[in-house]
């Protein structure tokens, strides 16, 4: 029985929009396997030349490594601090909870350009422009809301009696956290960590201001290239990042459904 009926027209339109959504992603993937020296479609033949160009370029590889390790450090900082914040929010009095929530979730609402120039304005005075440290500190703040929302969602589904039981059986607060609370909220923590990784790995606006010449991340390297030419190396890099984010976000999506 089709209860939510939508006419033939809306169904067709829906599929056309889905095609519109998917086409650019598929196109970039196809172009990345082109054998041509410039962007043409359809590619005259398929090959791996642009992947070889990517792997043979020191600057592309350096940018990739920088992005990967910056994102990894961001995951460690934002996941641990974000989990602390979520635990605190569940216990704080109502007024304080509002203020802390507002502070920690606000990077989702404040336009990225405002955050980017704000940190640039302050970090420039402390020599944090052109250094991975500046990027890590700013990216960790951008990633924090994702960890806090995800862990808070897990905590809200947690039976407080389990913690009380652990405490009354003689567990220390620290012990009950590690042995009872953390295992139960682990899916939420992992989802938060995955979001934090992607947030930092894909981030461009803060990097535009903080990268300088000493800390060029992968998105920043792509941006610099795109300003001059759209050579297919970027298609190869894009395909690799699409693959990486799809795998990580796919994991997060499955975990969140289960949790």
């Amino acid at each position: 029985m089709r209860l939510l009926t939508g006419g033939l027209f809306s169904g067709t339109l829906g599929w056309l929009v889905l095609l519109f959504l998917a086409a650019p992603i598929l196109l970039v993937t196809v172009v990345s396997f082109s054998s041509a020296a410039y962007l043409t479609f359809p590619p005259p033949a398929l090959g791996l030349r642009w992947y070889r160009a990517f792997l043979g370029s020191d600057s592309w590889l350096a940018a990739s490594w920088l992005s990967l390790w910056v994102a990894t450090v961001v995951v460690v900082i934002s996941t641990s601090l974000g989990t602390l914040a979520a635990l605190a929010l569940a216990r704080l009095p109502k007024a304080a909870r509002g203020v802390v929530t507002g502070l920690i979730l606000s990077p989702m609402i404040v336009p990225s350009i405002v955050i980017a120039i704000g940190v640039y304005y302050a970090f420039a005075r402390y020599g944090l422009v052109g250094s991975p440290i500046g990027l890590i500190l700013a990216h960790a703040c951008l990633a924090m809301p994702f960890v806090v929302t995800s862990v808070t969602a897990s905590l809200s589904g947690l039976d407080p009696r389990l913690e009380q039981a652990a405490l009354s059986l003689g567990a220390t607060p620290w012990g009950s956290f590690w042995q009872v609370t953390l295992p139960l909220i682990r899916p939420g923590v992992i989802v938060g960590a995955l979001f934090a990784f992607i947030t930092s790995f894909d981030e461009l606006l803060v990097a535009l201001f903080l990268s300088g010449t000493g800390a060029v991340t992968l998105p920043r390297r792509m941006w610099d290239d795109l300003r001059f030419a759209i050579d297919p190396t970027i298609a190869a890099v894009s395909t690799l990042t699409i693959l990486l984010t799809a795998v990580l976000m796919g994991c997060a999506h499955r975990l969140r459904r289960k949790g």
């Binding site: 209860l3 602390l84 989702m108 336009p111 405002v114 607060p173």
Partner: protein, 301 residues
């Protein structure tokens, strides 16, 4: 840490009697101690830097409103603000018209549902930079769109689409569509099917069931999607800078240009205007529809 060391001291002696008083003394303080590190981190590396930058709008050199007053007869600012708002309205309408049928399709589908969800989520998970690049490839002079239309004989010479306002609009609608589809699909999924059966049983045609039952019940999702798309599109920078024309500057682009020229007071004023616009819109939606920041939690990719 202090939590742990206190209780470790207690663990050596008979457990319950010794740890309880310690925990009681720490009890009311514990949430504050937990909150301290993340709050201090966010203040030091995000909130205070942004507020410090914004303060340049009114403290340059001393307390003054001169920079805000100057915006009143600044033709560049007014053109850019108008352009940004116009773009945001257009993109919001575009995503609403194109997104609603997809949300219906997603909720109605059975076997195809995983495929449809994948087609929505795959672009959603891909970074804005990569998607903007994809549109550069598609819309360029020798891009797929032009080549296809030439091959079909619809054109005799390539159209200029890239670096026009149309390219920005198409790419932004593409990028923001999932933010509209997902909240609408969420509310559609919650509609009680017995209502639809009742409508059909009372003789309503599918179209009037949709108009009188489904559409009104999905309005909260429409409102959440509209809020998300509108506020996010106000701050767009990467896409208009890459695929847009040289003349259609957005507020974010103007801010970045002013920073490049070290014109901090002007950049801070523009940032305050951008932030205030976003907050006012969120406030209005919160008042009318009872949703505000909550919608943004759904924005997690």
């Amino acid at each position: 840490m202090s939590d742990a060391s206190l209780s470790d001291a207690g663990a050596a002696s008979p457990p319950l009697a010794a740890t309880r008083p310690a925990r009681l003394r720490l009890g009311p303080l514990a949430p504050w101690l937990l909150a301290l590190p993340p709050v201090a981190f966010m203040l030091a590396f995000y909130a205070l830097p942004v507020l410090g930058m914004l303060s340049r709008a009114v403290l340059d050199p001393g307390w003054t409103l001169v920079h805000f007053q100057a915006l009143g007869d600044d033709p560049v600012f007014q053109r850019v603000l108008w352009n940004t708002l116009y773009l945001a309205v257009l993109v919001t309408l575009g995503t609403l018209l194109l997104g609603y049928p997809v949300a219906l399709l997603l909720v109605r589908a059975r076997r195809m549902a995983p495929l449809i969800l994948l087609l929505i989520l795959l672009p959603f998970w891909t970074s804005v930079l990569v998607r903007s690049y994809a549109w550069m490839v598609l819309l360029g002079r020798h891009g797929l769109v032009n080549e296809a239309m030439l091959a079909l004989g619809l054109l005799d010479r390539p159209l200029r689409i890239l670096n026009t306002p149309l390219a920005t609009q198409i790419a932004m609608i593409h990028i923001l569509l999932p933010y509209m589809i997902l909240p609408i699909a969420n509310t559609l999924r919650q509609i009680d099917h017995s209502l639809l059966r009742a409508a059909a049983g009372l003789g309503a045609s599918p179209w009037s069931t949709f108009r009188q039952v489904v559409l009104p019940l999905s309005l909260p999702g429409v409102a959440a999607g509209t809020l998300l798309v509108f506020v996010l599109s106000l701050g767009f920078y990467i896409t208009p800078a890459l695929v847009g024309g040289p003349r259609d500057t957005t507020l974010s682009m103007l801010i970045s240009q002013q920073v490049d020229q070290l014109n901090w007071a002007y950049a801070a004023c523009l940032s305050a205007v951008l932030l205030a616009t976003a907050l006012v819109i969120i406030g209005v939606f919160a008042k009318i529809c009872g949703l505000g920041g909550g919608a943004f939690r759904m924005s997690a990719r």
